[in-house]
């Protein structure tokens, strides 16, 4: 990976964290009733995004994927319009809860809240790509809890039989809201599930964006060569509660959280770039300022933007 690319990845990780932090502030201010965070997952998301053809390949994200969609090309303004449910929100016009991404132009598939359904959608996108020979790869993102859903299984099986150009990217943070992985499955690695579908299952340190980039690139290339899907398991952690409605002290110790925080992907990657002389102090400061300005601008912009007109409530149920 080139130093430039490493810096770009770092930039998006830092941008995402900053947007994320701002969302929580807006939540506490009563301006954003619900917040879902990617805090802790940035390396997995941004590393994988840069391994793909951003805007041309398809991603099917879930609510945890703020850093992913930022890296994919959604602007902080667009994110904030969504978080504050403004009419101009390009994801849903303020109709969906925050973190329900979707922009056709960028090839970000619109997602609902029902977990695991996007695996089948990505599989279908890939089926179309294969038939239409458009060269695209589709990547579905999902939590480890959602792998218990039957639809996860059905999608992987279908994709494997037809050797479709799709990648199943698991962000394993060890919890599904309060339920720890050991109550969710009797295996240590989500990647072990690949064996039942006859596809490769790859485990990667989800806190290392470079490693994530590598395995995702390999999986995407494999898909593009017509060799079928890959299941990637990126092991990571979420540093904050499941959502702003959650209180994670009920189900995990502060010691556990602190232990993982030592491996905060943003901090460790920053240290690495500094240690390797890739990121200078000036560059870092400039980036920080740029990000601060962007986040402030996005917040102001979205706060001033109009709310949806109630008269639009019944629009777009069907083609008009």
């Amino acid at each position: 990976m080139t130093p430039e690319l490493m810096k770009e990845i770092y930039y998006y990780m830092a941008l995402s964290r900053a947007v994320d932090d701002r969302m929580w502030i807006l939540n506490r201010q009563g301006k954003a009733p619900v917040v879902y965070s990617s805090n802790g997952h940035e390396a997995a998301q941004v590393g994988s995004a840069f391994a793909l053809r951003r805007g041309e390949d398809w991603i099917a994200p879930y609510y945890r994927d703020l850093a992913l969609v930022l890296a994919w090309g959604m602007t902080p303004r667009e994110v904030m319009l969504h978080v504050l449910a403004r009419a101009a929100d390009p994801n849903s016009g303020g109709r969906q809860m925050p973190a329900h991404w979707g922009m056709r132009r960028l090839h970000i598939l619109s997602g609902g809240s029902v977990v695991a359904t996007q695996n089948a959608h990505a599989t279908g996108i890939a089926l179309a790509s294969k038939m239409l020979k458009d060269g695209r790869v589709a990547v579905a993102y999902f939590g480890e809890g959602s792998t218990s859903q039957g639809e996860f299984h059905e999608a992987l099986n279908f994709a494997a039989v037809w050797k479709l150009p799709v990648v199943f990217f698991n962000e394993n943070n060890g919890y599904a809201i309060s339920v720890p992985q050991r109550k969710q499955m009797a295996v240590v690695d989500v990647a072990a599930k690949a064996a039942g579908y006859g596809i490769p299952g790859v485990i990667v340190d989800g806190n290392d964006p470079v490693k994530v980039w590598e395995v995702t690139r390999a999986a995407a290339e494999r898909a593009r060569r017509g060799e079928g899907p890959t299941l990637i398991e990126a092991k990571t952690y979420r540093f904050v509660p499941h959502s702003s409605d959650d209180d994670d002290r009920a189900y995990r110790s502060r010691e556990e959280v602190m232990e993982w925080k030592k491996r905060d992907p943003l901090v460790t990657f920053e240290q690495r770039l500094e240690a390797e002389g890739i990121l200078s102090a000036e560059e870092k400061a400039a980036m920080a300022k740029q990000i601060r300005d962007l986040v402030n601008d996005a917040t102001d912009y979205a706060e001033k933007a109009a709310l949806p007109d109630p008269a639009t409530l019944e629009r777009y149920v069907y083609a008009e």
Binding site: P90, R95, S110, T117, A120, G124, G150, F158
Partner: protein
């Protein structure tokens, strides 16, 4: 014009559409090599290849979920659910995903998709090969639900469903497949979704119905004509959206309404039709709105006496209509 069965009309429609539009792809259980368990897709894999007529794994959730993704990335999928009874594993994808993709994305995405499935009974199908499942979907904003009652309608509505930019459930009555015959044009024609059709004009009372029951109602009307009772038969053709205007008009015209469907009575399509009437034309009615429907048991049992007791017949319709006419 060629005379075809209901099944042949659907097959001809699929073939014609696939010839016209290379983006159309069919998949489902046994639809390829075997041509479907009812043979609706027979010959299509030979004609269009294994890429366009796909034998899928046995997983209705994926069959529909994959179709949603494929539709979004440029195909026009027509997945088949082998029996309406087995559509429930796909319920989540249909109701929570396909139906609301357009709404939730504020018109950024949409899902042009036709899900075909056979419904209904009377063919020794028992509890799990006889169900009428249309009412579940007719309740869902974002879906369209088509229930043809003649070969002609089946082909024309299928073409319209495929042309539609939103998800359509296309429910074929399996007892109609080989029992109904009629004239069907060779050339392509579209019957608009959401328009009911007066299949027979009459003065004394209206039967409002759909799917297989249309032909049964027509037989009943024929029999009653001999007795001097003039029956109008309105074929809904699609149960979402309902053709409110046609429903109100026939009720205003005759003043007496008998709603007939094979599906269980409680919460069936008849309830909504009746509620529309009670809301809009109550004072035009000369008699209570009657519903003749399947009894409230979980589909029809296998043993012939029980199946027969469940099924609605032309005789039962005639009897109900006779009583209503005399009201």
């Amino acid at each position: 014009m060629a005379v075809m069965t209901y099944l042949e009309a659907i097959r001809a429609g699929l073939r014609q559409e696939m010839q016209r539009d290379p983006r159309i792809v069919i998949w489902g259980e046994d639809v390829g090599v075997r041509g479907g368990v009812f043979r609706v897709t027979e010959g299509l894999q030979q004609e269009f290849g294994e890429d366009r007529v796909i034998d899928s794994p046995l997983a209705e959730g994926a069959i529909v979920g994959v179709a949603i993704g494929a539709a979004i990335n440029g195909l026009r999928p027509i997945p088949e659910i082998q029996f309406g009874d087995f559509i429930f594993p796909a319920m989540n994808q249909i109701v929570e995903e396909a139906a609301r993709m357009r709404y939730r994305s504020n018109n950024d995405f949409h899902v042009p998709l036709v899900i075909r499935a056979p419904i209904g009974g009377g063919i020794h199908g028992a509890l799990y090969h006889s169900q009428s499942v249309e009412a579940f979907f007719a309740h869902v904003p974002g879906l369209k639900v088509v229930v043809p009652g003649t070969p002609y309608d089946a082909k024309g509505l299928l073409a319209a469903a495929i042309a539609d930019e939103d998800p359509v459930l296309f429910f074929e009555h399996k007892a109609a497949y080989r029992s109904l015959r009629g004239e069907v044009p060779e050339e392509r024609y579209l019957i608009p979704i959401g328009k009911a059709d007066v299949k027979r004009e009459g003065q004394d009372l209206s039967i409002i119905t759909y799917s297989l029951m249309v032909s049964y109602a027509l037989r009943a009307a024929e029999a009653l004509a001999q007795e001097g009772i003039s029956v109008e038969v309105l074929d809904l053709r699609t149960v979402r959206p309902l053709d409110r205007q046609a429903i109100l008009e026939t009720a205003k015209k005759t003043g007496k309404v008998l709603i007939v469907h094979e599906d269980n009575k409680t919460g069936g399509i008849g309830a909504e039709v009746s509620a529309i009437l009670a809301e809009e034309v109550l004072f035009y009615l000369d008699a209570p709105i009657r519903r003749l429907c399947g009894p409230d048991v979980p589909a029809m049992p296998y043993s012939p006496p029980l199946e027969h007791a469940f099924m609605i017949t032309p005789e039962k319709i005639a009897q109900a209509a006779r009583e209503l006419a005399r009201f």
